[in-house]
């Protein structure tokens, strides 16, 4: 399978008047097309910095990020980013919330005198239809005109996913997207969302501090060391066919082996530091 995302020798430091903090130091890895890739590590190891670099919110100080072999800045690939909290806007309906990305990408009023040409109108119409289809598929159709506060935590997170997916991203970045939910909802939403991502065959990078979450969804797991973050190891996760969904994986016998393996990697790191 071809490589979707390549990270080479990536480093990043934060600069403040009180001093310099190295968040990431010489990170290299690659993610294959359609792969679900997870990144775990102790808190403060630069996990979120890594995501910010991947989606272009921060510029790397050293090293490079390639998407389909093209440098990130030049690539026209769309990167979807899902944050820790859903950040649905209370002043917008659900439909209006999920179309936020499209609204930003295709501003209708920026050139008031330029009539949208037929092709563009058609794309917009298509986008709208896709959006409604997604709402239908993920059980939110009845709530399209509802306010976010009327939805449960799980439904809100699904709406946030639709908002991200509406831009048809090539790569999906997930920044602990389940961490704000209570445990039971979290298991359900994680199951839900990772199934959606897998059926759509999206390439995804998940950042989490929850080891069992990482094992239950990922194809491979990258373990980072404590600050400054370095690549400790990359673990292959294979449950074989028949244990694809996170909840099935959690019940599989291999699960605890993977957990112990991952736990040792992290623990060994802590004792050496």
């Amino acid at each position: 399978m071809k490589t979707k995302l390549e990270v080479k020798n990536l480093s990043y430091s934060y600069h403040e008047s009180t001093g310099e903090t190295t968040a990431l130091s010489h990170i290299s890895f690659d993610v294959r097309d359609g792969e679900f890739f997870a990144v775990v590590g102790p808190s403060g190891c630069g996990k979120s910095t890594l995501l910010s670099l991947l989606c272009g919110l921060l510029k790397p100080e050293e090293g490079s990020i390639l998407i389909d072999g093209i440098p990130r800045e030049k690539s026209r690939a769309v990167i979807g980013y899902m944050l820790q909290r859903d950040h649905l806007f209370e002043w917008r309906s659900i439909l209006s919330n999920v179309s936020l990305g499209l609204e930003i990408q295709n501003p209708r009023h920026r050139f008031p005198f330029a009539r949208a040409n037929a092709a563009r109108r058609q794309t917009e119409e298509q986008n709208r239809r896709d959006l409604l289809q997604m709402l239908r598929t993920y059980g939110l159709e009845a709530f399209r005109d509802a306010r976010p506060s009327q939805l449960s935590g799980g439904m809100r997170q699904r709406a946030a996913l639709i908002r991200t997916m509406a831009l048809k991203p090539d790569i999906l970045l997930l920044d602990e997207p389940f961490s704000a939910l209570d445990y039971q909802t979290r298991l359900e939403v994680c199951d839900d969302i990772s199934s959606i991502i897998k059926t759509q065959k999206k390439t995804a990078v998940l950042i989490t501090h929850d080891l069992s979450e990482a094992i239950s969804v990922a194809d491979r797991i990258l373990v980072l060391t404590a600050r400054p973050g370095r690549v400790k190891t990359i673990l292959n996760i294979d449950f074989g066919p028949g244990a694809e969904r996170p909840l099935e994986r959690r019940n599989a016998p291999e699960f605890s082996n993977y957990f112990n393996q991952l736990w040792k990697e992290l623990k060994y790191d802590e004792t050496t530091v």
Binding site: L57, Y81, F89, W91, L100, I104, Q105, L167
Partner: protein, 278 residues
Amino acid sequence: MKQPCDFLSESVRIAENAVSLRQLEYLAAEKRRRTQIRIVRTMLLVLFLALWELMTQLDLIDSFIFSSPSRILACFLQMAADGSIFMHIGITLLETLASFFLTVIIAVAAAVLLWSSRSLAEVLEPYLVMLNSLPKSAMAPLLIVWLGNSTRTIIVAAVSVAVFGSVLTLHTGFMQTDADKIRLITSLGGTRRDVLTKVLIPASIPLIISNMKVNVGLCLVGVIIGEFLSARAGLGYLIIYASQVFKMDLLVMSIVILCLVSTALYQLISMLEKRIKD
């Protein structure tokens, strides 16, 4: 924030769905309490006015100095008959509304400008703080010299009272916008302008309105200061004129009307706030 009457109507709605005896008792008690409060509130005013009137009638206090409810009413009716009081109220109201709208527009625009440039905000901050804490009444005589004895002076004075604090409050509020919401817009490919129109302004509507509540009061203060110094009409002018010719009935009446005007303006914005929330 829920208004008391909302709370009641909501309780009634709940009660219709599942009417337990305890709930009904609770609602009845709550209703009784509200009625009592309303009665005591009204009684307090009636008692105060009656006592005032009685004491002047019995010559316990001098009605020439302290005026009296009946004299105030008489004064009002007399001025209402020739319409002059409405002209004075209208002028003060107009000046207040004009300066209020100017303040809101200037404050929002300036706060957005400061938000969009961190360096500009840092450069200007000490000056804004200084101008905000400066007693604006000290500036009024200067404004008269610069701008003359006119409505313009009054409006500028009123704006100057409210605008600096307003800019500071709004700017602080803008800076506290959830950083993750800004990240969200950026990650969706949005520019700074998208952040402004899609997050900052909509998220700050409640702040802007609560700031408007403060501004309308401050603008009225500014207008009265302005009218004290440079006016030939308006409630502030009436107060100064009345004190100079020792017409205490006119003076107290103007203050009473001012009370009503300021309450009415405040309520108007509260209504706007409620409408936007729903």
